[in-house]
Amino acid sequence: MDNYQLLKTSILEYEKDNALQAAKAGISEGTDPLKMLQAVTEALNIVGEGFNSGDLFLPELIYASDCAQAAIKVLEDKITADGNVAEHKGTIVLGTVRGDLHDIGKSIVAALLIANGYKVIDLGTDVETEKLAAGVRDNKADVLGLSALLTTTAAEMGNVIKKLESEGLRSSVKVMIGGGATNANYASHIGADAYGETAVDAVGIVKDLLK
């Protein structure tokens, strides 16, 4: 099996170390990293379709996207070093806001976006407002996705949007929110561009926002 196939198979078999190794081997053997990236996309398409049809589930989706992320990191570093740019449908920065440690919903959103061909920078949980704004700026994010499960932390989302405005970033990035403490009314109240009720909604929302 060549490294292209090996990379694809490793992701589909949830073998993170093998995926990473195949990506590295591909690079060291001189395979075009842009082509290797295509193997990742093919694998993720299969996983995404499997999840949508009910044949695969959250653990498979999340773990496959983690395997893919590990390989993507290595391949993109090489692409950048070669002076090229990897193409994405868009760049999405995600984070759970300050004071809130809930990770699962946001991780599912991240996995689904990755599986659908978006570049995702997941800043994690309990992310400071400043760090979220910096994440948008540094990555030239097309969309910022904010998550909050607690009513007490949802208020932070409004602060993040204000921060984006004061930093002059708001016009260049769309903001979507989600999580148990939020709803569509709250999204419009704080000036977010979109609200997603479920993780699966996020893919359609991002697609609409980037039309």
Binding site: P59, D66, S107, G124, T198
Partner: protein, 485 residues
Amino acid sequence: MTAKGYLRKANPLEILSDADVEAIHRGALDVLAVTGTRFESDRALKLFEKNGCRVDYDLKRVRIPSGLVEECLRQCPSSFFMKGRSPKTDLTIGGNTLYFCPSPGMRTIDLDTWEQRVPTVEENHQAVKILDKLPNINLAASYTPYCELEDVPGVMLLPVSAWGRMKYFSKPQRVGSSMESHIWEMQMADVVGIDVFAAMEAAPPLTWYGDAIDCAWACAERGLPVEVGCGAVMGGTGPATLAGALVQSLAEMMAAIVMVQLVNPGTGILANAFVFALNMMTGSPAAGGIEVSLFQAAFNQLWRGKYNVPTMIGACGPSSSELIDVQLGFEKGISASLAAVSGASIINLHGGIHVELTYHPAQSIIDDDIAGMLGRFVQGIEVNHDTLALDIIHEVGPIPGHYLRNKHTLTSWKKEHFLPAVSDRLSYHDWIKQGKKTILENAKEKMESMLAAYEADPPLTDSQNADLDRILEEARTYYAKKGLL
């Protein structure tokens, strides 16, 4: 894909004390020795007499000494093998394995109007095909799925029913015991290469009809297992008290077991419970009542625990509800759950709706989810280094740690968590978006897709099909000669 049954890990629920078990056992022996049972078969009466029983030929009554009863109970094997059409459908009934079996209905039911009607032979084939492919169906009883078919005379029902199952059902089966239908059914089983077992079901109180005796005798002679069933309606054909109904049922069944073991010592026995309370409002059996579960739990304890004989728990399939609704769901769910945790070897669950009057394949698909859940439950909790997950717990730690991203979750969740086929598991949001579908609508869709995808596995050869048709025709000729057609 067919499950090989569910291996029970936890100790079964015991509802009777040791003293209760002993008292019921003694009570049954007392009934057999003092009042005895009625056997409407001269050859059975002669066999009993030859083996030291007191026989009254005028009353067709046999009184059996306790020593003979206990000796014959000891001859029953704790498990027996049944061959399916391929190794993946073979069964070993007994021990700690739980299997599932369909529950019959006379007729089908319209899923919109809830009106019953006689199904066609083709509808019977469809219902059989669904059962063949349901992962938790391991065997079939005679009279399943339907016990009445359009344009099929009553005397031909069992041969036609068996003919349909032999064509479209790849798993072991029970033969019927009416009008010598077992003759044709055993021949058909030989054609397709499966094992069958006899149905010997009592006519309570304390009576055995010739049909049941003949069927059991024929199977026992051939070394095939015999299902010995009780069927009292508590307050009608059996005592109203649970303990009394147990005593009478045990006495009936023990008498049958003595006969079977005298015909062929060591014959496999399957103890079948089909006992209801009498519905004192209508005079019909009160299906779905909790006393059914009390009876069945004690029945499991007695047969599995005291006599080491596998059990078939038959009264979980029907409900008193006329339609597929909440009452049907909780009555079937509760009785099947209690049968499973009290140690049943087989539960007759799938498809039955109203007190053996109605059946529908969509219900059999829903029941397969119940069977899967119970199967998962009796398998219990596996405790070992990997499942204790100490390393993983240390690794993940407190919030914001979580387990969804961990490979341990990926590799273990499907083994540990049961995934239903048609029970709704959508988020509320998605459920609205996808048209607010009920479990019944999911089951109807699944039924259509299963029928469209159906392929016999393994397929019958042309000569097997021709032999089945020939045997059915011979049955028709036989009954016509007897003036029954």
